[in-house]
Amino acid sequence: MKKLYSVVATAGLALAISGCTTNTVSTPSFETLDEKQLCNVKSNGIENVLATAAKYNKIAKEHGVEFKRLGMTNTQYIDETNKSIKAGSDKVVLLDKKGKATKNSVSVEYATQRACKFAVSALILEAEGKKTWRTAVPGDGFKY
């Protein structure tokens, strides 16, 4: 019986240690994403960069690693930028934590680039984190 337990334990631990969940199988490809190239508004155009942002942010959201800055999620960033473009405005008004408009705004170009960077780097960070997190654990990778 004990043996059985330890086999189960081994499997469980192995899974946990190698982080071999369905998530990780698909993540390694994100680590090599080129954020600078993907999110370059000048060479790709605002529409394309915004589409890239939406694409990767969707994945980031599914993985539970979506960025949020000063009360505004990246999803809100993308939505607000889309709205501004539709309305023909060159400004994106920033929202507060309750989703209400604040006095601050940024240019559509800046918002697009930021939304894209946030989406892509969330995934890069997640992929890197899988490899580096143990370096912060006392008694494991963290030496002092």
Binding site: K2, Y5, S6, V8, A9, T10, A11, G12, L13, A14, L15, A16, I17, S18, G19, C20, V25, K61, G64, V65, E66, F67, K68, R69, G71, T73, N74, F118, S121, L125, E126, E128, G129, K130, T132, W133, R134, A136, V137, P138, G139, D140, F142, Y144
Partner: protein, 306 residues
């Protein structure tokens, strides 16, 4: 390739399994002891250990505001454990804390609710949560258990962060503290150990646009300052919830009390990330890991914080 990785990790894992003879909490115990050793060493003498631990702190801070030789049990006080300035205010406020009437309200909530009484016949259970339910193979948080109990009895769920939820929990915490209960988190199965590991990975993984992990601030960063804020240490971080925050209580006293989940959400937002849902698997496993790190320490909730 992948198979190879799995195989080799399985081997490593197997090796550690043999060493630990099937104790599912073996790794967790190792982690817990390592964290205690680190925390104690760090705060042994901040001035002397400056190069190692506090390279950016000022002379004045190290000399006059970081206590030396702190006992393990004291770390439950959060940053008041080491902050001499903070401790003065803390002690004054603890003299007659603003949450006392809320604990009484919690007792009334308990006495008025037959369903809650039936689900929680023992009120001194604050230190036993979150626990791993072997039948359901998942972590159960106190907040989750209370809401499930209410729903099963045909009642409305409570807000998981403020209001009745922390008020009832404050009663449980006060009862547990009075009964001198200790944090008692168990890891009964391999699945539980895996849940613990996932929580641990969450805590130590950098996330959000600021690229901070929980540990950046509360393990490596504990005792340091962010502007004028002393960062609390991980050890003892969950012993005293629900917590009354002066910041939360600004508008309404009853609103000052919040669950551990409420605090976590705020902290994760500060990392620059969308926090996991209050009762999500991710949040519960994170809390499970965190609570284990405070195992054996006294339950000392509810408490008051900045």
């Amino acid at each position: 390739m992948l198979l190879n990785i799995v195989k080799s990790t399985a081997l490593v894992a197997l090796a550690s399994c043999i060493l630990n003879a099937g104790e599912f909490n073996a790794q967790a115990e190792k982690d817990r002891i390592a964290l205690i050793e680190y925390t104690v060493a760090k705060f042994k003498d901040a001035e002397k250990n400056r190069d190692n631990f506090f390279p950016y702190s000022t002379d004045d801070e190290l000399k006059n505001n970081i206590k030396k030789d702190i006992k393990v049990e004291e770390f439950a006080m959060g940053n008041y454990a080491f902050s001499i300035q903070g401790q003065f205010s803390y002690n004054e406020i603890k003299d007659m804390p603003p949450y006392e009437e809320l604990v009484e309200q919690g007792e009334e909530l308990y006495n008025d609710n037959k369903a809650i009484q039936a689900c929680f016949p023992d009120t001194t259970i604050a230190g036993d949560y979150p626990y791993f339910d072997q039948k359901r193979n998942e972590v159960i948080s106190l907040t989750g258990a209370i809401n499930e109990c209410l729903v099963n009895a045909g009642q409305e769920k409570w807000n998981e962060k403020k209001g009745k939820m922390p008020i009832l929990q404050a009663y449980f915490a006060a009862q547990s503290t009075e009964a001198e209960k200790k944090v008692n988190i168990t890891i009964p199965t391999a699945e539980a150990a895996a849940a613990y590991e996932r929580g641990k990975e969450y805590y130590y993984t950098q996330r959000g646009y600021l690229k901070l992990s929980c540990a950046t601030c509360h393990v490596q960063g504990a005792g340091k300052r962010v502007r004028n804020e002393s960062l609390s240490q991980f050890l003892g971080q969950t012993t005293h919830f629900p917590v009354y925050r002066l910041k939360w209580g600004k508008d309404k006293v009853a609103n000052g009390l919040g669950t551990l989940e409420r605090r976590m959400e705020g902290c994760i937002k500060d990392q620059g990330q969308v926090p996991p849902k209050t009762n999500s698997k991710q949040m519960k496993e994170l809390l499970y890991f965190m609570a284990y790190m405070s195992n054996g320490m006294n339950v000392d909730g509810p408490d008051v914080r900045k």
